[in-house]
Each structure stands twice: as structure tokens, then as C-alpha cells.
């Protein structure tokens, strides 16, 4: 076993508070590769792990809206002026007030679609099998258990001290795995 060996320790908790406390203490040990699996978004955990709201996904949706607005308007402009100019009661070919409705709907559609596809892309989904999560410890993370998975290097911190943190906060189950 060399100093650069990385290993992973998985701890299962019955309470979100114990999990958050554990995560906080592990960060105190200088560990940064901490991932938690929870049945619902735990606000304090996100704060502990310094996960921010917004970010690139929000900008992706804004960009989607912008693209949608341009495309939505342009297709109507192209239709009514460039390709098939139709004189209806002398109204201008570029009747922008009438075009805003269609452009508005397409703007929103593109924004939502950008968020929808952006979300799966950013999460790396669909991913039906993840070897790091191939353990029974994760089976109830989508229902009623809170699972922490921490990766560390042997030279960084001893396995035992991580185990102790898990045990101190009442982890129901602790597992070691290759990282």
C-alpha cells in the first residue's frame, strides 16, 4: 500500500442531522471529495458542501430563452415578410405586436427545454450503472437513509480516523471500497 492509494469509505445514517455533522467534521479533516446521497435535498448539507444554487444551469436556461426568442420571432418575420408577404387589411408585414405572442411561447419552451436537457447533461444522466455506487449501502438512499461517501488518500488521513468520525455520529453501517 503506497501513500498515493485512494480509498473510499461509505457511511449510512438514519438521520440527516448526523450526516450533516459528519460531513462538516470530515471537511474539517481537510477532505474535499465528499458526496452525499439523500432521499430529499438537505439544505444544511448543501451549505456544508458549499453547493451553490444557480450557476451554469441557470445561465443555460437564460441562453435557451434568448435563442428561443430570436428563433420564435424570426420564423414569424421570415414567414410574413421574407417568404410569403401577405397583406391583411394594410397591416405592416412586420407586425411585431402580433408576433410577440408566438415569440413569447417559443422563448419559454426553449428555456424549459434547455433546463431539462441541461439538467441531465450536468448530472451525467442517464447513467444506469455507477460502479462507485455498487453497494447495498445505497439501496435506501432514495427512501429513508442518508449516505455519505468520502474519498481520501492514504497519506492524507488514516482510514481509522474517518471511521471514528462516522462511528461518533452513529453511522448504522460503514463500508470500505476502492475509489
Amino acid at each position: 500500500m503506497t501513500e498515493n492509494d485512494t480509498f473510499a469509505i461509505i457511511g449510512v445514517f438514519a438521520s440527516s442531522r448526523a450526516m450533516v455533522e459528519t460531513a462538516r467534521q470530515l471537511r474539517g479533516l481537510g477532505l474535499r471529495t465528499i458526496e452525499a446521497y439523500t432521499p430529499y435535498p438537505v439544505e444544511q448539507l448543501a451549505e456544508t458542501l458549499r453547493l451553490r444554487r444557480g450557476g451554469p444551469l441557470a445561465w443555460t436556461m437564460a441562453a435557451g430563452a434568448l435563442v428561443g426568442a430570436s428563433c420564435g420571432y424570426f420564423i414569424q418575420y421570415w414567414d410574413e415578410w421574407l417568404n410569403y408577404p401577405l397583406n391583411v387589411g394594410g397591416r405592416p408585414h412586420n407586425s411585431w405586436p402580433a408576433f410577440t405572442v408566438g415569440a413569447f411561447e417559443i422563448t419559454l419552451l426553449f428555456a424549459v427545454a434547455a433546463g431539462f436537457f441541461g439538467l441531465w447533461f450536468a448530472c451525467g444522466l442517464p447513467r444506469l450503472y455507477d460502479p462507485r455506487l455498487d453497494s447495498e449501502a445505497f439501496d435506501r438512499a432514495s427512501a429513508d437513509r442518508f449516505v455519505l461517501r468520502v474519498e481520501a488518500r492514504t497519506r492524507q488521513v488514516a482510514r481509522e480516523s474517518i471511521r471514528q468520525v462516522f462511528e461518533a455520529h452513529g453511522a448504522e453501517r460503514i463500508e470500505e471500497a476502492a475509489a
Binding site: A14, S15, S16, R17, E35, A36, Y37, T38, P39, Y40, P41, V42, A46, L49, L51, R52, R53, G54, G55, L57, A58, M61, Q76, D79, E80, N83, Y84, L86, V88, R91, S95, A98, F99, V101, G102, E105, I106, L108, L109, A111, V112, A113, G115, F116, G118, L119, W120, A122, C123, L125, P126, R127, L128, L133, F138, D139, A141, S142, A143, D144
Partner: protein
């Protein structure tokens, strides 16, 4: 019994016995049970029979043409258009509950939003069908798409009818995406609870491999929040544009600036009424009393009441316009509306949508499930009458007396109505067996907030 315990608003939103474990088992268990319960078979069987009626009616319609309906000149829009507006209003209610009340962080939304959105998708399918049936040449509906044909002909995008087509198309697509983003974590729960390999694979694929990682949750929250903020104005625009279909027509009774909000108010009341009915049914059928409590019923009752009051305001102005304005045609049409051909429907809608729902001011009525169910059912009927009046009454008393006429729906008109209800119920019952009908991840947050682990 003290006053405090009488007030559902003061009660816990989720019953104290419900834990994270029991919630997941209960909601997933309803999908994973080998045999659906008896009530489901009865409902689904009834719905499928009505769906057969729709299939027969549509085949006959496509073969024989819309002459089998009662529509003719001058009343060229009949039940199909009225039902289009009716269904899209019912659908909109689903988004109002799930998007608007997500933004307000209303706690009762968590257990009811999946029912509301499932209703939305089922009703939107019915709404999308109606205009196509009404087209006369349904095979050419794709001419509404703005694409460059060899004929060089484009749709007329200055027309509200085209706006409406765009709205409906965008709305349905957006609703599906919004639904799925909220659904994926719950599908993951069902995958993990399921025992059989086939079911695990089915839900595993549907869940896209969602594992509930904290990083993923953060992204999920970001996107879901923004999507809600987009869906809320979207649903307002959808039903407003349906209102514009009429308001932009130079027909007495239609040509009114109040139509967009008037239609939206109608969507609020009819959509929430249907959600209230379905919530009461699903709660009873699936035994979800622990998650859907009196708190939810009370909140839905209040929302129905609010919709009724808003609609009363619109009805007042619907009457005020012709009376205060000096347009003879408007007055003639309105007189016919309230005293003439459509009078029974008019007073029926006033009674069902405005008068009866006022009983919801009394807490005892609001919290009584049978009472709320019956009042909501009355509203659904009343809203159908309202759409019927709007569509028919104006065309039957147009400007020229020589252009007046009556409209009598034929048996095929009614078959389409019955059949569309069948389509709605079939979709809803089918989804009841496939998707977790309570947004578990959101209810868990409420359980957590109330002090459990």
C-alpha cells in the same frame, strides 16, 4: 375539542405517524402491488368503455365529416370548441397548483402536485384532440406548423388561432418536461423499493439512474425552481390566448377586453375543482390519508372558493359591458344569453359556479370531503355550460338578424364529450398505476421540517 384542533391550518400537514420509511413503502407499494385494487378496475373499465365511444365517434367523424354534428352556419362552432376550452382550462389548473404554489412555497402543494400534473397531462391530451376533430380536414392540421412547403404557403401568424396552436403545443411539451423533472427522483425510489427484476429495470430506466446525490439535488432545485417560475406565467398566457381566440373576433359577446383574465379565472376554478375531486378520490382509493390530510382538502376548498369569487367578478363585467355600452348587438346578444335560447345554461352556470361554491365560506362545508366533492363536480359541469354559452350564444345572435340561428347538438356531439371524458379517465387511471402519485421527495422535506430525522 378546542378551537385549535378544529382548524386544519393549525394541524400538521402530514400525519404524525408518517415517516420517511412508511411514506416510500406506502406510495411505491401502490404501484408495485401485483393486483390493482377493485376500484381501479371498475374505474379503468368504465373509462375504457367511454374511450371506445370516442373511437367510434371519431372514426364516424373522419369517414362522414363534421356534418354528423349539429354545427352549421351561423353556429359553426359547437361542442368541440367549447370542450377544447373546457379541457385546456382543466389542464391549466394542474400547472397553477404545481407551479404557482411551488413559488409561494405552500406546504400543501407537495402531496397534491403530482395528482394535479397527472390530471394536466391527461386533460391536455383531450384538449389537443378537440380542435383537430373540429378541423373538417383533420389530416391537414400540420399546415399550422410554420414550415416551408412546396406550395410556399405559410400560416397566418397574426391570427390568435395560430397563437393558440403555438401556445398549446409549447404548453404540452413544457408540461411533460416539468413533470418529468419532478418525477425522476420518485421513480428512483420506486426502483429501489421494487423487488422484481422486471420492475426494477422498468423504473430504473425511467429514473435515468437518479441516485439522489447532493450535487444533483442542487442542480435539480435550480432547474425546478426556474421551471416553476416559467410555468406560472406560461399557464396564464395559455388560457389568456384561448380568450384571445374569441376576443379578436368581431362578434357580439366575444369582442371584449376582459376575455383573457376571464378565461384565466375560469381555469383557476375549474382546474382546482377537478384537482380537489381527484385528490379526494385518490386519497380514498390509495389509502393516502396520512399524506393527504384535512389540511390539503381545506386548502383546495379555499382555492376553489377564491376561483369562484374571481369568476363572479368576471361574470359581473360580462353583464356590465353590454348594459353600459351602447352597442345594440351586444345588448341583444346578452339578453338572449340570459333570457333566451341559452338561459337555462346561463342560470345553471351562475348557480353552479358562483352561488353554490359560496357555501365553502363555511369551514364545516369546506372540510367535508363529500361536500367539496359535490360542489367541485358542480363547478366542472358549470364551467362546461359557461364554455358552451360563450361559443354558441354569440354566434346564434350575431349582428344581422338575418344571420340568427339555433344550435342543437346531435348524438355524435355528445359522443365526443363522453368519449373525451373516457380518454381523460383512461390516461389518468393508467398513470395512477405507473407513476408515484405523491411527490415523495417533497413530502419528505415536510416530514423533515416537522422534526423527524
Amino acid at each position: 375539542m378546542t378551537l385549535a384542533t378544529d382548524d386544519p391550518g393549525a394541524l400538521p400537514i402530514v400525519r404524525p405517524g408518517v415517516t420517511l420509511t412508511s411514506l416510500s413503502e406506502t406510495v411505491s407499494g401502490r404501484l408495485l402491488s401485483r393486483r390493482p385494487p377493485l376500484w381501479w378496475w371498475i374505474g379503468f373499465g368504465f373509462a375504457s368503455m367511454l374511450l371506445l365511444v370516442l373511437i367510434v365517434a371519431v372514426v364516424n367523424l373522419f369517414v362522414a365529416g363534421i356534418g354528423i354534428w349539429g354545427v352549421n352556419i351561423p353556429v359553426a362552432w359547437g361542442l368541440a370548441i367549447a370542450e377544447y376550452v373546457w379541457w385546456i382550462a382543466l389542464a391549466s389548473g394542474g400547472t397553477i397548483i404545481s407551479a404557482l404554489f411551488y413559488l409561494t412555497r405552500s406546504p400543501w402543494r407537495a402531496a397534491t402536485n403530482r395528482i394535479a400534473e397527472t390530471m394536466l397531462l391527461s386533460a391536455a391530451a383531450c384538449a389537443g384532440l378537440m380542435p383537430i376533430l373540429h378541423l373538417g380536414r383533420p389530416g391537414l392540421f400540420y399546415w399550422l406548423f410554420p414550415y416551408s412547403t412546396v406550395m410556399g404557403v405559410w400560416p397566418q401568424v397574426r391570427s390568435p388561432l395560430w397563437w393558440d396552436f403555438t401556445c398549446l403545443l409549447c404548453y404540452i411539451l413544457m408540461s411533460i418536461m416539468y413533470y418529468y423533472v419532478g418525477l425522476a427522483p420518485d421513480l428512483a425510489t420506486v426502483r429501489d423499493v421494487a423487488k422484481g427484476r422486471a420492475r426494477r429495470m422498468f423504473y430504473g430506466v425511467l429514473a435515468l439512474g437518479w441516485r439522489g446525490s447532493a450535487r444533483h439535488w442542487r442542480k435539480h432545485q435550480t432547474v425546478y425552481g426556474i421551471m416553476s417560475a416559467i410555468m406560472a406565467p406560461m399557464v396564464v398566457s395559455v388560457h389568456s390566448v384561448v380568450g384571445l381566440d374569441f376576443a379578436a373576433g368581431l362578434t357580439p359577446g366575444w369582442h371584449s377586453t376582459q376575455f383573457p383574465p376571464y378565461f384565466f379565472f375560469g381555469a383557476v376554478i375549474s382546474g382546482t375543482a377537478l384537482v380537489a375531486m381527484l385528490t379526494i378520490l385518490v386519497r380514498w382509493g390509495y389509502g393516502l390519508e396520512g399524506v393527504i390530510t384535512d389540511y390539503h382538502i381545506n386548502a383546495l376548498g379555499k382555492l376553489v372558493l377564491l376561483g369562484s369569487v374571481m369568476l363572479a367578478y368576471a361574470y359581473l363585467f360580462e353583464a356590465w359591458g353590454p348594459i353600459y355600452g351602447a352597442n345594440v348587438a351586444d345588448r341583444t346578444e346578452f339578453a338572449s344569453r340570459i333570457f333566451g335560447f341559452t338561459a337555462p345554461a346561463y342560470w345553471g352556470k351562475v348557480a353552479l359556479n358562483i352561488v353554490v361554491p359560496q357555501a365553502l365560506w363555511f369551514p364545516a362545508v369546506r372540510r367535508s370531503k363529500p361536500a367539496l366533492f359535490v360542489i367541485s363536480g358542480g363547478i366542472i359541469v358549470g364551467m362546461w355550460l359557461e364554455r358552451y354559452i360563450i361559443v354558441v350564444s354569440s354566434l346564434h345572435r350575431n349582428y344581422m338578424p338575418s344571420y340568427w340561428g339555433d344550435y342543437y347538438p346531435t348524438v355524435w356531439d355528445w359522443a365526443i364529450l363522453a368519449g373525451s371524458i373516457g380518454l381523460f379517465l383512461t390516461l389518468f387511471f393508467a398513470l395512477l398505476r405507473i407513476v408515484p402519485i405523491v411527490a415523495m421527495s417533497e413530502v419528505r422535506e415536510i416530514i423533515a421540517k416537522d422534526g423527524a430525522p
